[in-house]
Every structure is written in C-alpha cells, then in structure tokens.
Symmetry: C2
C-alpha cells in the first residue's frame, strides 16, 4: 500500500486515535487489493472474516431476499464497511460489490478484535463510529418511510449540491441505475422523477445536473436536518 493511502486510512475517525504501534500492526497484516468494477466482494450470510476499507473507487452494499434485490448503501473512500458484523463475529447482513475499479484494504477480523482488547482509544473510536453508522441507517429509514420517491430524489440532489461546493451544479457520483436502487425506486421511475423535477429547476444532462431554482426545489423537498444533515 502506498504511504499516501496509509495516511488516509490513519485519518479515519476509527483509527485516528489508535496507538501508533497498534496501527502499525494492523497495517502490517492488512492487505490492499484492487478489483475491477462489478466484482462481488462479500456475500450476505457468510462469516465476517475481514473488515473492509474502501481506499479508492466505490462499493455498493446490497441485499437480496426472495427474488428481489435492493441497494442498501453506497460506500465511498475512505470509509469502512461491515464493521458491526466483524465486531459481533457474525455473518454479513449485506453483500458488497464494486461499482467501479476500486482498491479495498482488508484487515482480518481477528486482528481487529485483538487490538480492541488492548487499545482503549480504539474502543472509543469504535463506539463513535458505530453510533454514527446507526444514526445514518435510522436517517435512511426515515427518508424511506416519510418521503415519496420524488422527494427523496430532490433531497438527494440538494445534499449532493452542498457536498460538491454549493455552486448550483453537481455531477451524479453513481450511475442512474444504482442511484435508483439507493433511493428505493426503479430506474424507470427515477427517470420520471427527474422529469417531475424539471419545473423545479432541475436540468439533467447525463450525469451533470444543474439546479437553477434551488428555492423552488427546496420548497418541494422540504429538507430536514434530522434526515439530511450527515453531521447531526
């Protein structure tokens, strides 16, 4: 792994306060793998052997039941996923696949648990991380249960616009098929939802979106910090 990547990983809340020696240990054991797009990394139901950290690219977490499949979350660098399964020594509840060429750092679950046993800073960091993740899922569930598809899309666009600098312009970071799954709708309906938002100043050109009437859009979306603010 390049030093630059290691620095990025070290900056994660989860590792930032860890004792240097323990971090070095983990990095010693961990290995970085690069995968092409559309490679399935983990499968729900299997034992959680490794903590995964997306270092570059993007990973989709998804789940299946009956014949159906749904996107649960898209993880972008630098972030961990399936931490809870590793900590509980349980099976994965979600599968994961790369959305694009991605490099993923793999740390054996047993080593994570070993460091946990001796590094209190790590425990605190895990608590913070888990609490944040928990709240993120609760927000996602509120988004899903309290809003229509069009409203979810409108709020998603507003969040992205802020994240990308608040210039009234944004680029969709994932293809529309995946975005549809992420927003809990079909690609066809996502396409129609964009159509519905046109009168609210949403101009779509491929992955490029321009928000020309942000106030109108916000009037429809009614953003709520208890759902949309990632820092709350």
């Amino acid at each position: 792994m390049r030093d630059g990547d290691q620095t990025l990983v070290r900056k994660l809340r989860l590792f930032a306060d860890m004792e240097e020696e323990n971090f070095a240990d983990l990095m010693q054991i961990a290995y970085l793998q690069t995968f092409p797009r559309q490679v399935q990394l983990i499968t729900e139901g299997e034992a959680a052997d490794f903590l995964h950290i997306v270092v570059s690219g993007a990973v989709e977490l998804f789940a299946r039941s009956n014949g159906r499949e749904t996107t649960m979350e898209v993880v972008r660098p630098v972030a961990t996923f399936i931490l809870a399964a590793v900590l509980k020594d349980a099976v994965y509840l979600m599968s994961a696949r790369t959305l694009e060429k991605s490099s993923v750092l793999l740390i054996p679950a047993e080593n994570i648990r070993a460091v946990m046993a001796r590094d209190q800073h790590f425990d605190k960091a895990i608590i913070t991380e888990l609490a944040s993740r928990y709240r993120a899922v609760v927000k996602a569930q509120k988004d899903l249960k309290l809003r229509t598809g069009v409203e979810r899309l409108a709020n998603y666009l507003l969040r992205q616009e802020i994240e990308q600098g608040g210039t009234g312009h944004l680029v969709l970071p994932i293809d529309k098929r995946t975005l549809a799954g992420r927003l809990g709708m079909t690609p066809e309906n996502l396409s129609r939802a964009f159509g519905t938002l046109k009168p609210y100043g949403v101009a779509v050109d491929g992955a490029e979106i321009r928000l020309t009437l942000p106030d109108d859009l916000a009037g429809l979306a009614k953003p709520n910090p208890l759902i949309d603010d990632p820092d709350v």
Copy 2:
C-alpha cells in the same frame, strides 16, 4: 426502584459486565419514573439528556417529517433506547411515547459518559449493544425494502409465534394501529392484510391469533434468518 427491577436492569447485556461500583453509582443517580399511556417522553431534535431504559410497559419510537409520521420501533422491557444519541452527545433522531402505562429508568447522559471513561467492560458492552442495534435496523430496512406489506405481516406473525412458545397461538403485543405503523402500512391495509392471510391459516380474534397452517404461511412469508432471526 424495587430491587427486582434493579436486578433486571443489571442483567441487560449493557450492564451485565460493568464493575459493581460503577453500576451502583449509576443506579444511585438514576431515577425511575412511571408514566400513563400515550405520554411523549422525548422529542426528536432535542438534546439527548438521558439514557432511557424501559422497565415495564412499552414505548414506541416514532419520527415525523412534513406532515407525516411513522413508527420506527417498539421497545419492550427490559431494554434501552436512544443509546446512540447519548453516546454522541447529539440530538434525538426519534421521538418516544408510552404505548401503555410504563416505568422508565432515566440515567443522565453525562453519567453514562463518565462511566464509559473509566470502565472498559462498559465500553465493550456498549460496542456489542450498538452493533446489535445497528444490525437490527439494517434488518428492518431489508424487511421494508424487500417485502410487501402482506409478507411483512406474515413474517411478523411467524416471529411472534416462535417468541411466544411455538404453540400455533399468539397474542398481538401491541394494538393494531401501532402494529400497522411498525409494519409500514396503514391500519386499513393491515386489516386487509389479515384478510389476505386467512386462506393461509391465520385466524384472528381481536388480539388473539391462531396459525392453523403454519407451513402454508411460511410458504408465503419465505422467512429469511438474515432478516427475521434476532440472534443473527
């Protein structure tokens, strides 16, 4: 608080391994309050001042946005709620109200955090608890996104039947209005969903349910341990 209640609280995973002194400290400071039904205990958006523990009765966690409201979870004794908000010193993401006469143990957030700082066993217990809660929400989200309303009801009934002893008979632990919210549907549709399940051996008499064709019901429900098993 009666000693019996204290023993029950002590048995919670969260407190079981805590050092005796720290537990005694918390119980010293904590106070038990009894509320009639339909009392709102906390409101989303307010600062998380207390960790709540349902000692008796039942508490509904719900959320609002726009004009809509949805049930997120029903908490039954003995269990904590809004742990993540307390740990992050953040605002509540959900509101809570009693569903029936309930007693709730309140522990000031600052004391929780103080014990955390000095009791490593508590840290471990918090990690386990948070990881479990996280996985519970993920399962709830899979339930919601991968199943129709009728399927969610069918699986709910099968889970309850097991929980209540596997005798082919169960009593709904909450009224149908709340159950509908819990299952992500309206009371009207819950009523119709029960009708749909009649041919699958679901006999309803008020809150009493008899499952006379469990295999048929399971055939429709297609239970999935990665959604329905609370221990996975």
